[in-house]
């Protein structure tokens, strides 16, 4: 009984559920080949829109059914985790890096540089991303790398805005002023004093943006410029299967569920990180 109570407490204080989900996601992405022998890219038309295994005429071979081209939905969802995770990792780390750098400099330097950089951020918001993406894909051709590049361009602005605010606040702190007076170089101050102060924010934004990245990818597929088939990307799966929502719900439901669970896990983790990393809130919690 006591043990049970303490494990309750554990679950309450730490983000166990999100971490388990993210763990599963990473596991699926890394060991996809071990989980399913089928890579989800090939199919047999005979099994077009084959129902999931619990249907009377389903088969255990297609646990979650098959899509209109007879491809295994389960395998595609599992391998889709790899694509989604890869895209999210690359985009968020590069977008985060660029955004953080610009945000740090803008916030710390202030004045004209700040204004200039922030208007530059405005610029990326002011141009409708989706139209730029269409033109770029039409000109450069459809490929995974083009899509990743576009998503990076699309995502750094949000980081820059937030980090700038944080670094603006940190700039005024005593220890930063002291460092400056004692003659430390700007890169040094940024790296040693300001950056550690914004790492939390960085993680929080990153975890919260995973969802919008996956959804953006799906909209690109919807407009016909997304991840090229037969690569199993969740967004593309939902988009390509949308004509079958009424007749073969499993084609869109399971990739949709995967998106949902991933977004949920990262959101809860982000919320928890925010609470946990904010000392004031942590105090309240205890």
């Amino acid at each position: 009984m006591k043990q049970l109570q303490s494990s309750w407490k554990f679950v309450r204080v730490y983000p166990v559920v999100p971490l388990i989900l993210i763990g599963l996601l990473v596991f699926a992405a890394v060991f996809a080949e071990l989980i399913t022998t089928n890579n989800g890219e090939g199919g047999d038309l005979f099994y077009r829109n084959f129902p999931p295994s619990w249907y009377e005429n389903g088969s255990t071979y297609y646990i979650l059914g098959a899509d209109p081209l007879g491809r295994d939905v389960f395998a595609r969802v599992i391998f889709g985790a790899r694509i989604s995770l890869m895209v999210a990792t690359i985009v968020l780390s590069l977008g985060g890096l660029i955004g953080t750098l610009i945000g740090l400099i803008a916030g710390y330097k202030g004045g004209q540089i700040d204004e200039l950089l922030m208007r530059f951020v405005d610029l990326t918001f002011a141009i409708p991303f989706i139209l730029v993406a269409l033109v770029v894909v039409i000109v450069l051709g459809q490929s995974m790398s083009v899509i990743v590049l576009l998503l990076i361009i699309f995502s750094w602005g949000a980081f820059a805005r937030q980090i700038r605010g944080e670094s603006l606040a940190l700039k005024g702190r005593d220890y930063v002023s002291i460092a400056r007076i004692s003659g430390a170089s700007t890169p040094y101050i940024l790296w040693k004093h300001i950056f550690p102060g914004v790492v939390n924010t960085l993680f929080v934004i990153g975890s919260l943006r995973v969802g919008s990245l996956i959804l953006t990818e799906s909209v690109l597929s919807y407009l016909g410029v997304g991840v090229p088939p037969p690569t199993p990307a969740w967004g593309a799966m939902v988009s390509d299967g949308r004509d079958y929502i009424a007749t073969a719900w499993w084609v869109t439901f399971f990739p949709g569920l995967a998106i949902f669970l991933t977004v949920m896990a990262f959101n809860f983790l982000g919320d928890w990180l925010r609470d946990y990393l904010d000392p004031r809130l942590r105090q309240l919690r205890e």
Binding site: E41, G42, L45, R48, G70, P229, R242, D243, A246
Partner: protein, 614 residues
Amino acid sequence: MKHYIKLGLIAFGLFAVFAFSACSSDEETTTTEAPAPAAKEAPAKEAPKPTATSAPKKEAPAKEEAPAKTVTQDVVIGVPAICPPIFNNRFLTGSCFERVQMWGFTEGLTWMKHAPIPVQVDEDVPEKSMVESWEHDDTANTLTWTIREGIKFHNPDFGTVDAEDIAFSFNEAMAEGSTFNRAGQLRAWIVSIEAKDGKVFIQCKDTGCQKDWIRQQSNYNGQTASITSKDAFDQLGEEASLADLDNMTGPFRATKWVAGSTIESVGVKDHWRHPPHLDSMTFVEIPETSVRTAALVNGEIHLSDLPPKFVAEAVEKSGGSAQQIGGGKGQGWFASGQFWAQTDYLGAAGEGNDPAARPGYMHDDDHPWIGEWGNDESMERAHKIRKAMGHMVDGEKLNNAIFGGLGSAAPLAYFGWTPDMPEWKDEWFIDYDPDKAQALLDEAGYSDCFTVPYWIPPDVTVVIDPEFAEAVAQFWSDGGCKVEIEKTAYSARRPTLVSRDLNVFFAWNTAGAASPKDTNGVGPWVPRAGSWNGGFEFPDELGKLHPVIDAEPDSDKRRAYNEQVTGFVADWHIFISKVESTPYWALHPTVAEWNPYQGNIPYFGNPQTIKMKE
């Protein structure tokens, strides 16, 4: 405690999503579960099949047809796209021109009778036409048209159709800078066209007047010059007259026309040719297939353009029927990059017309399907590769799965040649035979196949079903090839076709007519320099035939030329067709009758024949 509530709620939420999906699908599961391909969701091929069982159960026809309305006949038609209002031939663009005329707003010079399926139009037997009589002077090489009197434009200010209007409409179509699709075809035989003494007088070129002008200027192709008013042009000016909704003579008079949204129109009850049954006709643009289906089931629209695989579902759920329009089209692919022209034989527009420097003409080891014209070894190897790609694909299975068995995997060659025609050659047909495919690959020196770049245009579903195209890629993968799919919009890629950059496999249909049988005299579609093409160009001796065919008066000779030119594509298997798919429209049960024009393009037509149930 917190997290357990959270978990519970999430579970509940998921359940809600699940229930959403399930509740919307439970009714259909019976049709979708059955994996047996052929039997599944198949209304018989003679599709008009009002399912008596489901009709009364669901649809309350009174719902959208208010009882008081029994005196009026109104129809709403759901289409994937509505083009801008452009009623001057000079400014019509490729993808839009047929709608203005086929949809009942403008009219061409002649009008062919409605024909049932299979498409077979009696030559030279038009329905009542604008041209009342004609004279053909062989020695002077002229043609004179006498115009029927009393054909009113929708706006009385523009008067009735006279010789001036006809000459004006044709001259606009042929004008310099015209984007009218058939401008070149008209220029090919017309030197000048003018109004003289109340008649239209045409001076033809030395090669003679177009022999089958009656058919060519009719709605047969849905691509002929629409007759608009010269008075409107004079009174309103170019800008205003080209979009003037009353600048037309069709059985429907448009009252509102918003591109990308709606067209509202009223029936012209005293129409000179064919008064419509309908009082009003509305077109609405609904791009999503599933939403068009939903709107049809709900009775918000009464006729809709749906891919064959969704027609059965729509018919079953709405209790309505299906209507075939036009003959089938071969779904298949081009092995593009075969730019075999030696000279720039037509003096084309734009850059990149140097035939020696076609950017896509890469007959190297990375493009084994492209042959080098004049190099027998290279040509032979490429031919083997192209045939191998065909042998890998199972047309029967594609038809059963993707087209619900509504199409046919029967032999069909480029441009619609079928085995019952005398010109047919058995080697044109590539059957499903993986062993033969492997043997051919071995012979060509590509035992492990190669990287196949493959373009699928997802947005021109009337032409090619993207799902079919993706399934073809699956067969190639099964055959050991590494397929790299590019799925980008047709219009986005079209410029690379024009500039001769394209050297990939690309999904398309048999292009053009339903079958040569029906296009007896019609010139074949021959790709030229500076234009759209299937990613290939004919060697000179064939390429030079184009103007000859355009002007050839004898239909047997034209057919022979057709065989020579399009047969060449089939001989070399530049295009391979796997399934002949038939276009259908879905009809709501409130539609009593509709006799669409069975032209060679499966577009909506003959709206004046639509009758609603009262």
